[in-house]
Symmetry: C2
Subunit: 390 residues, 2 copies
């Protein structure tokens, strides 16, 4: 997986994560190991991955093949410079890996949508009529996407007080949302939709993503135009992006879609990915509790369907755009991807080992998402995403 | 007003609109007329205004004073180079004036919100409970903001057909929305709200803005997370941005706000602007009909309140961001800022001089917004924004 790192006051550059080490791709390039690929080393001397992403999938594959060859250790010259080009991950500062043009948040986790629907509209069908016809989504705030480990400031805002009048203050219902972010790898011109069967060509890679949410602010503001301040104070993106190619071993069929989607959403091959995910809560007292375990195959809509829908009216995507899946919940209580669901909207507090309880996040809480694919002995880790509430 | 223009294959640069002429500010600068201001001419040799905007209001004022002095014609040297530095506007290509990081659309036109509420929720209060407590807003799509005169492609998408089942096809309810766009002039760091009385310092300028909307797509998709494909196919921004300073003569008190907003939204001076606006429909047959006349002072929330609200939870704004007001409608039928309202959701077709009718836009229709301030003999024009449906 790729990210942007810096250390010892040197400028940020592109790195490849390799165990607990980071391979400095600018140095690898300067040492001539990419010469045959005709890739300029300045591509790796950038503060974001956008230029590297712009090389396109066929050249990413060449880079990957070359790196695999070098990392197998058969190249004696390469082995000699090992100490020079590998940096221990503990020594570096990680940066936001992409410059994000636009950020879109989908709502493709059907169990999440059902759980939220049951809580907010108890007397109605949990899913709204459009849900199984289209990947529902809204535009989010790109400027407040931060890299993993950036502290998260509890937002203040308006919400309804006990007497049902709006009050202003720090959110009392701060939550995480367990999501995957797709990083757009190729641009489409305005007015030119991307067909569903070509959509994966437009995904550079995938990363864990925490779309922090202030539920009290969100609940008061979100009608009729959707979430705004309840979300735009911060979203955390992993420092590491896994190219979509590397998730190929975990491709699976998604849930059966009924009714059959309209033709522009019908895909000709399985397009879901089985990726295990877990949410870890680290409390101030040092406890580390796994509070949720789920899997990306619970998403109702595939990545490809999200992109086909997003662009079907002509909307243009750009390299570095973030398309997040929406909260991924499984169908059992231990697999829910937000505290809103895990605590039953605050009615079922979580009991932690330090004898405290949580309905929503407390100051000092640290939340980490982990994810990985595992199939036929092959394991691919996603990069963690963490944030601590201050 | 400032914009980005090019002609004769020269690269885009910053221009000042002066009647039917454009003053080439790069040339003015290269000729040394800004030397005393210590502004590098490269600021004007840019494909967007962002670098110029970044100079800040105090230097914008110095540039403006210097230009006023030169344009008064008292400088003999300057008069001599007139033919070199003025270009007729008809000769140039205009470009999107800013690089837009994020785009936010407010809903601050209270008559619009009431009209829409009456149509969509006939049995309820037209305004939702939060409306008079906060400037409701949602995030829009930045990538599909285009400069005035860019042709607008009618989007296809899902909407409900006659039997209440979703169908796919070209929108049959394509509309305009008459709005003003604020162009952000200064960034605030993530986590640092902008107080309402400092908020105008963060506005570089104002421009007319058409947030094209596909009502059929929007109606089917927008619950529960807000508009998405019904809006993100295109929004048109005027090529010309008027600095907020120049609108000072038109400052007025806005509508009385009841209930009194929470303290973070209470401003200590009048912060609305009386700007006349009109919508012109040019039909294929050559007719030009003014179908709406309204004024920006009908906005319920001020520009400053929009910014204070947007950032109160810590959200960061960046130079070049677009904050649009939402549709500006007056309180009489001839002053509505969208066809949805003008045609009573299609029930009261507009009768045009060519004996055709409109409920929504037809292919070939061209829509132009015009705007200006006029007070005590001072008139300031906003730049037009136009688009033709194809």
């Amino acid at each position: 997986m790729y990210g942007i790192f810096s250390y010892d006051n040197a400028p940020p550059r592109v790195g490849l994560k390799h165990g607990s080490q980071i391979l400095d791709l600018e140095l690898v390039s300067l040492l001539g190991y990419f010469d045959e690929l005709a890739i300029d080393s300045t591509v790796f001397a950038q503060p974001t991955l956008n230029t590297f992403i712009g090389l396109g999938k066929s050249r990413h594959r060449l880079v990957r093949e070359r790196l695999d060859e070098l990392l197998r250790g058969e190249n004696t010259e390469f082995s000699k410079v090992h100490d020079q080009i590998f940096i221990n991950a503990s020594r570096v500062t990680m940066h936001l890996p992409v410059q994000v043009g636009d950020y879109t948040d989908f709502y493709a986790g059907i169990h999440h949508a059902e759980n939220v629907g049951r809580m907010f509209r108890p007397d109605a069908e949990p899913l709204l009529p459009n849900y199984r016809h289209m990947p529902v989504a809204y535009h989010g705030r790109a400027s407040s996407i931060v890299v993993s480990e950036t502290p998260i400031q509890r937002p203040s805002g308006q919400y309804l007080g006990p007497d049902n009048q709006p009050v202003f203050g720090p959110s009392t219902a701060l939550d995480f949302e367990l999501e995957l972010a797709l990083i757009v790898g190729k641009s489409n011109p305005l007015g030119e939709p991307i067909p569903v069967d070509e959509a994966e060509d437009f995904i550079f890679g995938v990363a864990l993503f925490n779309d922090w949410s202030a539920r009290d602010i969100q609940r008061w503001e979100y009608q009729p135009l959707g979430p705004f301040l309840g979300k735009n104070f911060a979203s955390s993106l992993s420092a590491w992006i896994v190219p979509l190619d590397e998730l190929e071993p975990f491709r699976v069929a998604g849930p059966h879609q009924t009714p059959t989607p309209l033709p522009y959403l019908q895909q000709s091959k399985p397009a879901h990915f089985s990726l295990d995910m877990e949410v870890v809560l680290h409390t101030k007292t040092g406890d580390e509790v796994i509070i949720s375990r789920t899997n990306a195959q619970y998403l109702y809509w595939s990545f490809a369907q999200m992109i086909a829908h997003h662009t079907v009216g002509g909307c243009n995507l750009n390299i570095g755009d973030v398309l997040a899946t929406g909260t991924i919940s499984g169908d059992t209580p231990g697999s829910y991807g937000s505290l809103l669901e895990l605590s039953g909207n605050g009615t079922r507090p979580l009991h932690l080992p330090d004898a405290t309880t949580r309905t929503f996040l407390a100051d000092g809480d640290r939340v980490t998402f982990r994810g990985w694919g595992f199939s036929d002995g092959i394991r691919v880790d996603l990069g963690d995403v963490s944030g601590t509430i201050r």
